[in-house]
Protein backbone atom coordinates (compact mmCIF):
# COMPACT_ATOMS: atom_id res chain seq x y z
CA UNK A 1 0.00 0.00 0.00
CA UNK A 2 1.31 3.41 -0.93
CA UNK A 3 -0.66 5.11 1.87
CA UNK A 4 -2.17 4.19 5.22
CA UNK A 5 -5.85 5.15 5.26
CA UNK A 6 -7.81 5.43 8.49
CA UNK A 7 -11.34 6.44 9.42
CA UNK A 8 -11.88 8.01 12.84
CA UNK A 9 -15.34 7.94 14.40
CA UNK A 10 -16.47 9.21 17.78
CA UNK A 11 -17.25 12.36 19.71
CA UNK A 12 -15.92 15.57 18.21
CA UNK A 13 -13.47 15.98 21.08
CA UNK A 14 -12.19 12.42 20.76
CA UNK A 15 -11.74 12.65 16.99
CA UNK A 16 -9.95 15.98 17.32
CA UNK A 17 -7.69 14.50 20.00
CA UNK A 18 -6.72 11.69 17.64
CA UNK A 19 -6.03 14.14 14.81
CA UNK A 20 -3.87 16.24 17.11
CA UNK A 21 -1.95 13.10 18.11
CA UNK A 22 -0.72 12.43 14.56
CA UNK A 23 3.06 12.35 14.67
CA UNK A 24 5.62 13.26 12.05
CA UNK A 25 9.27 12.76 12.90
CA UNK A 26 8.42 12.54 16.58
CA UNK A 27 6.46 15.78 16.70
CA UNK A 28 2.76 16.54 16.48
CA UNK A 29 1.82 17.23 12.85
CA UNK A 30 -1.37 19.13 13.71
CA UNK A 31 -1.05 20.24 17.34
CA UNK A 32 -3.68 22.96 16.93
CA UNK A 33 -5.98 21.34 14.37
CA UNK A 34 -8.06 22.68 12.57
CA UNK A 35 -5.36 25.35 12.33
CA UNK A 36 -2.39 24.51 10.16
CA UNK A 37 -1.60 23.41 6.65
CA UNK A 38 -1.06 19.93 5.30
CA UNK A 39 2.18 18.41 6.45
CA UNK A 40 4.16 16.27 4.05
CA UNK A 41 7.17 14.04 4.51
CA UNK A 42 10.30 13.32 2.56
CA UNK A 43 8.57 11.72 -0.43
CA UNK A 44 5.56 12.76 -2.48
CA UNK A 45 3.57 9.87 -1.00
CA UNK A 46 4.35 10.75 2.62
CA UNK A 47 1.05 12.56 3.04
CA UNK A 48 -0.72 13.57 6.25
CA UNK A 49 -4.21 14.31 4.86
CA UNK A 50 -7.01 15.06 7.29
CA UNK A 51 -10.65 15.73 6.42
CA UNK A 52 -12.63 18.00 8.76
CA UNK A 53 -14.72 15.95 11.22
CA UNK A 54 -18.33 15.78 10.02
CA UNK A 55 -21.32 14.45 11.90
CA UNK A 56 -22.76 11.20 10.60
CA UNK A 57 -26.45 11.26 9.57
CA UNK A 58 -28.09 8.20 11.15
CA UNK A 59 -31.57 8.96 9.86
CA UNK A 60 -32.19 11.76 7.37
CA UNK A 61 -34.88 14.32 8.05
CA UNK A 62 -38.29 13.76 6.51
CA UNK A 63 -40.23 16.43 4.63
CA UNK A 64 -43.81 16.95 3.53
CA UNK A 65 -44.84 17.82 0.00
CA UNK A 66 -44.24 21.51 0.66
CA UNK A 67 -40.65 20.78 1.58
CA UNK A 68 -41.22 21.48 5.28
CA UNK A 69 -39.33 19.32 7.72
CA UNK A 70 -41.59 16.83 9.47
CA UNK A 71 -39.00 15.03 11.53
CA UNK A 72 -35.46 16.28 12.02
CA UNK A 73 -32.39 14.30 11.06
CA UNK A 74 -30.87 12.06 13.71
CA UNK A 75 -27.16 12.78 13.85
CA UNK A 76 -24.50 10.44 15.19
CA UNK A 77 -20.75 10.44 15.70
CA UNK A 78 -18.21 12.70 14.06
CA UNK A 79 -16.18 11.11 11.27
CA UNK A 80 -12.82 12.14 9.89
CA UNK A 81 -10.78 10.39 7.24
CA UNK A 82 -7.00 10.32 7.27
CA UNK A 83 -4.39 9.47 4.69
CA UNK A 84 -1.01 8.83 6.31
CA UNK A 85 2.33 7.52 5.04
CA UNK A 86 2.62 3.81 4.28
CA UNK A 87 3.40 1.85 7.42
CA UNK A 88 2.18 4.54 9.82
CA UNK A 89 1.27 2.95 13.17
CA UNK A 90 -2.44 3.61 13.66
CA UNK A 91 -2.85 1.46 16.76
CA UNK A 92 -2.89 4.43 19.15
CA UNK A 93 -5.96 6.08 17.60
CA UNK A 94 -8.73 5.71 20.15
CA UNK A 95 -11.50 6.38 17.62
CA UNK A 96 -10.16 4.26 14.76
CA UNK A 97 -12.94 2.33 13.01
Amino acid sequence: MIYTKVTLKGSKAAVLADIRSIQKDGEAAYPNYPEGYEVTGSSAFDRYVVTPPRQEVLNPATYNGAGEEVTPAVLGDFISKLVLPAGYDTSHFATKV
Binding site: I2, Y3, K5, D25, E35, G36, Y37, E38, T40, S42, S43, A44, F45, R47, V49, V50, T51, P52, R54, V57, P60, A61, Y63, G65, A66, G67, E68, E69, A73, K81, V83
Partner: protein, 396 residues
Protein backbone atom coordinates in the same frame (compact mmCIF):
# COMPACT_ATOMS: atom_id res chain seq x y z
CA UNK B 1 9.38 28.11 -25.22
CA UNK B 2 13.11 27.74 -25.68
CA UNK B 3 15.23 27.99 -22.59
CA UNK B 4 18.85 27.88 -23.69
CA UNK B 5 20.92 27.07 -20.62
CA UNK B 6 18.15 25.04 -19.02
CA UNK B 7 18.42 21.43 -20.04
CA UNK B 8 15.41 19.82 -18.40
CA UNK B 9 12.00 21.15 -19.31
CA UNK B 10 8.40 20.53 -18.35
CA UNK B 11 6.97 18.08 -20.86
CA UNK B 12 3.98 16.14 -19.55
CA UNK B 13 3.37 13.23 -21.91
CA UNK B 14 -0.13 12.15 -22.80
CA UNK B 15 0.65 8.69 -24.03
CA UNK B 16 1.22 7.11 -20.66
CA UNK B 17 -0.32 9.58 -18.23
CA UNK B 18 2.96 10.28 -16.47
CA UNK B 19 4.32 13.62 -15.39
CA UNK B 20 7.69 13.65 -17.07
CA UNK B 21 10.55 15.96 -17.92
CA UNK B 22 13.02 15.64 -20.74
CA UNK B 23 16.65 15.77 -19.71
CA UNK B 24 18.60 17.06 -22.68
CA UNK B 25 21.97 16.10 -21.22
CA UNK B 26 21.32 12.44 -20.60
CA UNK B 27 18.65 12.21 -23.35
CA UNK B 28 16.41 10.52 -20.84
CA UNK B 29 12.99 11.14 -19.40
CA UNK B 30 12.65 11.67 -15.68
CA UNK B 31 9.37 11.08 -13.91
CA UNK B 32 7.74 12.78 -10.97
CA UNK B 33 5.89 11.02 -8.17
CA UNK B 34 2.44 12.58 -8.39
CA UNK B 35 0.33 12.20 -5.26
CA UNK B 36 -3.40 12.66 -4.82
CA UNK B 37 -4.65 9.90 -2.52
CA UNK B 38 -8.27 8.80 -2.75
CA UNK B 39 -9.98 9.71 0.49
CA UNK B 40 -13.29 8.13 -0.47
CA UNK B 41 -14.11 5.48 -3.03
CA UNK B 42 -12.82 7.65 -5.86
CA UNK B 43 -10.44 10.56 -6.27
CA UNK B 44 -13.09 13.25 -6.69
CA UNK B 45 -10.68 15.09 -8.97
CA UNK B 46 -12.16 15.69 -12.41
CA UNK B 47 -10.88 17.41 -15.51
CA UNK B 48 -12.48 18.52 -18.77
CA UNK B 49 -10.82 17.01 -21.83
CA UNK B 50 -12.37 17.09 -25.30
CA UNK B 51 -15.73 18.17 -23.84
CA UNK B 52 -15.72 15.15 -21.53
CA UNK B 53 -15.73 15.31 -17.75
CA UNK B 54 -13.17 12.71 -16.66
CA UNK B 55 -12.45 11.69 -13.08
CA UNK B 56 -8.79 11.04 -12.51
CA UNK B 57 -7.51 7.87 -10.86
CA UNK B 58 -5.64 7.92 -7.58
CA UNK B 59 -2.26 9.62 -8.06
CA UNK B 60 -2.94 10.24 -11.77
CA UNK B 61 -1.12 13.44 -12.76
CA UNK B 62 -3.38 16.44 -13.07
CA UNK B 63 -2.29 18.42 -16.09
CA UNK B 64 -3.70 19.74 -19.29
CA UNK B 65 -2.88 21.65 -22.43
CA UNK B 66 -3.47 25.37 -22.32
CA UNK B 67 -2.91 27.44 -25.44
CA UNK B 68 -0.89 24.58 -26.87
CA UNK B 69 1.43 24.29 -23.87
CA UNK B 70 1.29 21.82 -20.98
CA UNK B 71 0.34 23.08 -17.53
CA UNK B 72 0.48 21.19 -14.24
CA UNK B 73 -2.57 21.81 -12.08
CA UNK B 74 -2.01 22.14 -8.36
CA UNK B 75 -5.45 21.81 -6.82
CA UNK B 76 -6.50 22.32 -3.24
CA UNK B 77 -8.29 19.89 -0.96
CA UNK B 78 -12.05 20.36 -1.24
CA UNK B 79 -15.14 18.32 -0.41
CA UNK B 80 -18.49 18.01 -2.17
CA UNK B 81 -21.23 18.10 0.49
CA UNK B 82 -23.88 16.99 -2.00
CA UNK B 83 -24.15 13.21 -1.66
CA UNK B 84 -24.94 12.57 -5.31
CA UNK B 85 -23.22 14.64 -7.98
CA UNK B 86 -25.45 12.91 -10.55
CA UNK B 87 -28.67 12.57 -8.51
CA UNK B 88 -31.30 9.88 -8.81
CA UNK B 89 -32.92 10.19 -5.37
CA UNK B 90 -33.86 12.86 -2.84
CA UNK B 91 -31.25 13.91 -0.28
CA UNK B 92 -33.02 16.64 1.64
CA UNK B 93 -36.27 18.49 0.99
CA UNK B 94 -37.71 18.02 -2.52
CA UNK B 95 -41.08 18.57 -4.12
CA UNK B 96 -42.70 18.30 -7.54
CA UNK B 97 -39.58 17.21 -9.38
CA UNK B 98 -38.71 13.90 -11.00
CA UNK B 99 -35.54 12.01 -11.75
CA UNK B 100 -34.85 11.13 -15.37
CA UNK B 101 -32.17 9.35 -17.33
CA UNK B 102 -30.19 11.89 -19.32
CA UNK B 103 -26.90 11.50 -21.11
CA UNK B 104 -25.43 14.99 -20.94
CA UNK B 105 -22.77 13.99 -23.45
CA UNK B 106 -20.09 14.80 -20.87
CA UNK B 107 -19.10 11.22 -20.05
CA UNK B 108 -20.14 8.52 -17.62
CA UNK B 109 -20.26 10.72 -14.52
CA UNK B 110 -23.34 12.63 -15.77
CA UNK B 111 -26.06 10.24 -16.90
CA UNK B 112 -29.05 11.48 -14.87
CA UNK B 113 -30.91 14.67 -14.15
CA UNK B 114 -33.49 16.28 -11.94
CA UNK B 115 -36.40 17.36 -14.13
CA UNK B 116 -38.40 20.49 -13.33
CA UNK B 117 -41.75 21.02 -15.05
CA UNK B 118 -43.69 24.23 -15.61
CA UNK B 119 -44.60 26.92 -13.10
CA UNK B 120 -47.95 25.45 -12.11
CA UNK B 121 -46.36 24.24 -8.86
CA UNK B 122 -43.42 25.21 -6.67
CA UNK B 123 -40.67 22.74 -7.53
CA UNK B 124 -37.40 22.22 -5.69
CA UNK B 125 -34.72 19.74 -4.76
CA UNK B 126 -32.15 20.33 -2.03
CA UNK B 127 -29.14 18.60 -0.51
CA UNK B 128 -25.89 19.17 1.34
CA UNK B 129 -25.18 19.86 4.99
CA UNK B 130 -23.50 23.20 5.57
CA UNK B 131 -22.16 24.61 8.83
CA UNK B 132 -24.47 27.08 10.60
CA UNK B 133 -22.63 30.00 9.05
CA UNK B 134 -19.76 30.81 6.72
CA UNK B 135 -19.33 30.71 2.97
CA UNK B 136 -20.37 28.16 0.39
CA UNK B 137 -20.26 27.71 -3.36
CA UNK B 138 -22.76 25.63 -5.34
CA UNK B 139 -22.21 24.66 -8.98
CA UNK B 140 -24.35 22.53 -11.30
CA UNK B 141 -25.25 21.97 -14.95
CA UNK B 142 -28.57 23.00 -16.49
CA UNK B 143 -30.34 22.68 -19.81
CA UNK B 144 -33.67 24.36 -20.57
CA UNK B 145 -36.21 22.16 -22.34
CA UNK B 146 -36.58 24.74 -25.11
CA UNK B 147 -32.83 25.14 -25.53
CA UNK B 148 -32.84 28.77 -24.40
CA UNK B 149 -30.23 30.39 -22.20
CA UNK B 150 -31.39 30.01 -18.58
CA UNK B 151 -32.37 33.16 -16.71
CA UNK B 152 -31.40 32.94 -13.04
CA UNK B 153 -33.29 35.06 -10.54
CA UNK B 154 -32.38 36.27 -7.07
CA UNK B 155 -36.05 36.51 -6.20
CA UNK B 156 -39.19 34.35 -6.54
CA UNK B 157 -41.04 36.29 -9.22
CA UNK B 158 -38.79 36.54 -12.26
CA UNK B 159 -36.50 34.49 -14.45
CA UNK B 160 -36.65 30.73 -14.96
CA UNK B 161 -35.50 29.51 -11.53
CA UNK B 162 -33.50 30.45 -8.45
CA UNK B 163 -30.53 28.97 -6.64
CA UNK B 164 -30.79 28.24 -2.92
CA UNK B 165 -27.78 27.95 -0.61
CA UNK B 166 -28.30 27.15 3.06
CA UNK B 167 -32.05 27.79 2.87
CA UNK B 168 -32.07 31.20 1.17
CA UNK B 169 -32.15 32.42 -2.42
CA UNK B 170 -30.21 35.58 -1.68
CA UNK B 171 -27.13 34.12 -3.34
CA UNK B 172 -24.60 35.56 -5.74
CA UNK B 173 -24.62 34.22 -9.27
CA UNK B 174 -20.90 34.00 -9.96
CA UNK B 175 -21.19 32.78 -13.52
CA UNK B 176 -23.37 31.20 -16.19
CA UNK B 177 -21.09 29.44 -18.66
CA UNK B 178 -22.07 27.76 -21.91
CA UNK B 179 -20.37 24.36 -21.88
CA UNK B 180 -21.66 22.91 -25.15
CA UNK B 181 -24.82 23.10 -27.27
CA UNK B 182 -27.51 24.34 -24.89
CA UNK B 183 -25.93 23.05 -21.69
CA UNK B 184 -24.68 25.56 -19.14
CA UNK B 185 -22.75 25.50 -15.88
CA UNK B 186 -24.06 27.70 -13.07
CA UNK B 187 -21.77 28.79 -10.24
CA UNK B 188 -23.30 30.59 -7.27
CA UNK B 189 -22.21 31.44 -3.76
CA UNK B 190 -23.39 32.79 -0.43
CA UNK B 191 -21.84 34.06 2.79
CA UNK B 192 -23.54 34.51 6.15
CA UNK B 193 -25.80 32.54 8.43
CA UNK B 194 -27.56 29.57 6.84
CA UNK B 195 -31.17 29.32 7.99
CA UNK B 196 -31.46 25.73 6.80
CA UNK B 197 -28.11 24.02 6.53
CA UNK B 198 -29.51 21.07 4.55
CA UNK B 199 -31.21 23.08 1.83
CA UNK B 200 -28.96 23.89 -1.11
CA UNK B 201 -30.15 23.38 -4.66
CA UNK B 202 -32.54 24.73 -7.27
CA UNK B 203 -36.11 26.01 -6.88
CA UNK B 204 -38.72 27.08 -9.40
CA UNK B 205 -41.52 29.31 -8.14
CA UNK B 206 -44.98 29.77 -9.61
CA UNK B 207 -44.08 33.42 -10.25
CA UNK B 208 -41.26 32.42 -12.57
CA UNK B 209 -41.36 31.39 -16.24
CA UNK B 210 -43.31 28.37 -17.45
CA UNK B 211 -40.18 26.82 -18.97
CA UNK B 212 -39.13 23.37 -17.79
CA UNK B 213 -35.49 22.32 -17.46
CA UNK B 214 -33.12 19.64 -16.19
CA UNK B 215 -30.21 20.00 -13.77
CA UNK B 216 -27.40 17.73 -12.55
CA UNK B 217 -23.70 17.73 -11.64
CA UNK B 218 -24.05 19.34 -8.20
CA UNK B 219 -20.95 20.33 -6.25
CA UNK B 220 -21.34 22.19 -2.93
CA UNK B 221 -18.13 23.28 -1.21
CA UNK B 222 -18.10 24.92 2.20
CA UNK B 223 -15.72 27.69 3.18
CA UNK B 224 -15.22 29.32 -0.19
CA UNK B 225 -17.13 31.54 -2.62
CA UNK B 226 -15.69 30.37 -5.93
CA UNK B 227 -15.92 27.30 -8.14
CA UNK B 228 -13.51 24.57 -7.00
CA UNK B 229 -14.04 22.20 -9.93
CA UNK B 230 -16.47 19.30 -10.18
CA UNK B 231 -16.23 16.67 -7.44
CA UNK B 232 -18.27 13.65 -8.57
CA UNK B 233 -19.71 12.23 -5.33
CA UNK B 234 -21.70 9.02 -5.56
CA UNK B 235 -23.80 8.39 -2.46
CA UNK B 236 -21.60 10.05 0.16
CA UNK B 237 -19.74 13.27 0.86
CA UNK B 238 -16.57 13.08 -1.21
CA UNK B 239 -13.34 14.90 -0.45
CA UNK B 240 -10.73 15.47 -3.13
CA UNK B 241 -7.25 15.65 -1.64
CA UNK B 242 -4.74 18.25 -2.73
CA UNK B 243 -2.36 17.60 -5.61
CA UNK B 244 1.30 17.14 -4.84
CA UNK B 245 4.27 16.03 -6.87
CA UNK B 246 7.95 15.52 -6.32
CA UNK B 247 11.08 14.81 -8.30
CA UNK B 248 13.76 12.92 -6.40
CA UNK B 249 17.42 12.02 -7.02
CA UNK B 250 17.89 15.02 -9.30
CA UNK B 251 21.64 15.07 -8.79
CA UNK B 252 22.00 11.35 -9.51
CA UNK B 253 20.02 11.82 -12.71
CA UNK B 254 22.19 14.74 -13.82
CA UNK B 255 19.30 17.21 -13.67
CA UNK B 256 21.06 19.23 -10.98
CA UNK B 257 24.76 19.48 -10.32
CA UNK B 258 26.54 18.62 -7.10
CA UNK B 259 26.11 21.69 -4.90
CA UNK B 260 25.15 23.78 -7.90
CA UNK B 261 22.20 24.27 -10.20
CA UNK B 262 19.40 26.57 -11.31
CA UNK B 263 15.63 26.30 -11.22
CA UNK B 264 13.02 28.43 -12.92
CA UNK B 265 9.22 28.36 -12.60
CA UNK B 266 6.25 30.28 -14.02
CA UNK B 267 2.78 30.24 -12.47
CA UNK B 268 -0.29 31.15 -14.52
CA UNK B 269 -2.13 32.73 -11.65
CA UNK B 270 -1.68 34.16 -8.19
CA UNK B 271 -0.84 31.61 -5.57
CA UNK B 272 -3.69 32.27 -3.14
CA UNK B 273 -6.07 35.20 -3.34
CA UNK B 274 -8.28 34.43 -0.36
CA UNK B 275 -6.20 32.85 2.31
CA UNK B 276 -5.30 34.10 5.74
CA UNK B 277 -3.05 31.17 6.55
CA UNK B 278 0.32 30.96 4.88
CA UNK B 279 0.82 27.79 2.88
CA UNK B 280 4.30 26.43 3.40
CA UNK B 281 6.25 24.58 0.77
CA UNK B 282 4.17 25.49 -2.23
CA UNK B 283 7.44 25.03 -4.07
CA UNK B 284 10.43 23.50 -2.36
CA UNK B 285 13.91 22.46 -3.37
CA UNK B 286 15.47 20.38 -0.64
CA UNK B 287 18.02 17.80 0.38
CA UNK B 288 16.51 14.32 0.50
CA UNK B 289 18.78 13.26 3.35
CA UNK B 290 18.18 16.31 5.54
CA UNK B 291 14.71 17.83 5.67
CA UNK B 292 16.02 20.86 7.56
CA UNK B 293 17.76 22.18 4.42
CA UNK B 294 15.69 23.80 1.69
CA UNK B 295 14.84 26.71 -0.57
CA UNK B 296 11.10 27.20 -0.65
CA UNK B 297 8.31 29.39 -1.93
CA UNK B 298 5.44 30.06 0.41
CA UNK B 299 2.52 32.42 0.19
CA UNK B 300 -0.87 33.67 1.24
CA UNK B 301 -3.31 36.30 0.02
CA UNK B 302 -1.05 39.24 0.79
CA UNK B 303 2.53 38.14 0.26
CA UNK B 304 4.89 35.60 -1.20
CA UNK B 305 8.19 34.81 0.41
CA UNK B 306 11.21 32.89 -0.76
CA UNK B 307 13.17 31.26 2.03
CA UNK B 308 16.60 29.71 2.25
CA UNK B 309 16.87 27.61 5.41
CA UNK B 310 19.42 25.27 6.92
CA UNK B 311 22.62 26.35 5.22
CA UNK B 312 23.80 28.86 7.81
CA UNK B 313 21.85 32.09 7.54
CA UNK B 314 18.09 31.89 7.13
CA UNK B 315 16.89 34.15 4.32
CA UNK B 316 13.27 35.29 4.03
CA UNK B 317 12.79 37.44 0.95
CA UNK B 318 9.30 38.85 0.46
CA UNK B 319 8.16 39.64 -3.06
CA UNK B 320 4.93 41.20 -4.38
CA UNK B 321 1.90 38.92 -4.30
CA UNK B 322 1.47 39.45 -8.03
CA UNK B 323 4.82 37.77 -8.82
CA UNK B 324 4.45 34.87 -11.25
CA UNK B 325 8.02 34.06 -12.27
CA UNK B 326 10.76 32.85 -9.93
CA UNK B 327 14.29 31.56 -10.29
CA UNK B 328 16.75 30.15 -7.79
CA UNK B 329 20.46 29.80 -8.58
CA UNK B 330 22.98 28.17 -6.26
CA UNK B 331 26.69 27.53 -6.59
CA UNK B 332 28.64 26.21 -3.63
CA UNK B 333 27.76 28.42 -0.71
CA UNK B 334 26.27 31.21 -2.82
CA UNK B 335 22.55 31.45 -3.54
CA UNK B 336 20.66 33.99 -5.66
CA UNK B 337 16.90 34.53 -5.67
CA UNK B 338 15.05 36.10 -8.60
CA UNK B 339 11.47 37.36 -8.91
CA UNK B 340 9.99 38.45 -12.26
CA UNK B 341 13.15 39.72 -13.98
CA UNK B 342 15.12 40.99 -11.01
CA UNK B 343 17.57 39.46 -8.58
CA UNK B 344 16.01 40.19 -5.20
CA UNK B 345 18.53 38.53 -2.89
CA UNK B 346 22.04 37.13 -2.94
CA UNK B 347 23.71 35.58 0.06
CA UNK B 348 26.79 33.60 1.03
CA UNK B 349 25.83 30.69 3.26
CA UNK B 350 28.03 28.80 5.72
CA UNK B 351 27.45 25.44 4.03
CA UNK B 352 27.28 24.24 0.44
CA UNK B 353 23.78 24.31 -1.09
CA UNK B 354 23.21 20.58 -1.61
CA UNK B 355 19.78 20.48 -3.27
CA UNK B 356 18.77 17.01 -4.50
CA UNK B 357 14.98 17.07 -4.89
CA UNK B 358 12.05 19.27 -5.88
CA UNK B 359 8.37 19.28 -4.93
CA UNK B 360 5.13 21.26 -5.13
CA UNK B 361 1.93 20.83 -3.16
CA UNK B 362 -1.53 22.35 -3.07
CA UNK B 363 -3.24 23.73 0.04
CA UNK B 364 -5.19 21.43 2.34
CA UNK B 365 -8.23 23.71 2.43
CA UNK B 366 -10.38 25.12 -0.39
CA UNK B 367 -9.09 28.53 -1.38
CA UNK B 368 -9.21 30.97 -4.26
CA UNK B 369 -8.07 30.22 -6.86
CA UNK B 370 -9.00 26.56 -6.61
CA UNK B 371 -5.88 25.62 -8.47
CA UNK B 372 -2.57 27.14 -9.39
CA UNK B 373 -1.27 26.27 -12.81
CA UNK B 374 2.43 25.77 -13.42
CA UNK B 375 3.03 26.57 -17.07
CA UNK B 376 6.82 26.38 -17.20
CA UNK B 377 9.51 24.71 -15.15
CA UNK B 378 13.10 23.98 -15.97
CA UNK B 379 16.22 22.77 -14.18
CA UNK B 380 19.85 23.32 -14.99
CA UNK B 381 22.77 21.36 -13.52
CA UNK B 382 24.89 24.50 -13.66
CA UNK B 383 24.59 27.77 -11.79
CA UNK B 384 23.59 30.45 -14.28
CA UNK B 385 24.93 33.97 -14.11
CA UNK B 386 22.61 36.80 -13.17
CA UNK B 387 22.45 37.94 -16.79
CA UNK B 388 21.68 34.44 -18.06
CA UNK B 389 18.94 33.94 -15.49
CA UNK B 390 17.24 37.23 -16.34
CA UNK B 391 17.35 36.37 -20.03
CA UNK B 392 15.70 33.04 -19.30
CA UNK B 393 13.06 34.61 -17.07
CA UNK B 394 12.18 37.05 -19.81
CA UNK B 395 11.51 34.15 -22.17
CA UNK B 396 8.73 32.80 -19.94
Amino acid sequence: MSLGPFTTHLIPFTKNGKLQFWNDITKEIIEADFSRPNIGATSGSSVWRNDQLIELAENEPDWDDKDGCPVIKIRTQAGNLILNFDPTVNESAASNISYVLKDWGFGSSLQNAVSYGDNSLVRFRYGGSLPASGSACLSFYVEMNDGSEPVLAQNNNSGDFSVVIGGAISVNINSLTLISGTKYRVVSSATGTFSNQNNSGVIKYTGQSSKGFVVSGFTLVSGVTTYQGDIPSNGAVLTRSANSFQFTDLVTQGVLGVNQGSFIIKLNNQIFKELGTTIDDFVYLSNSADSSKYIRLRGNSSSISIQVVGYGTTITQTVPVSTRKFAFVWNGKNVKLFATDTMVNESAQADDIDITQYGTQGPSIPVVPSLVEISAMAFSPIALTEAQTIVELNKL
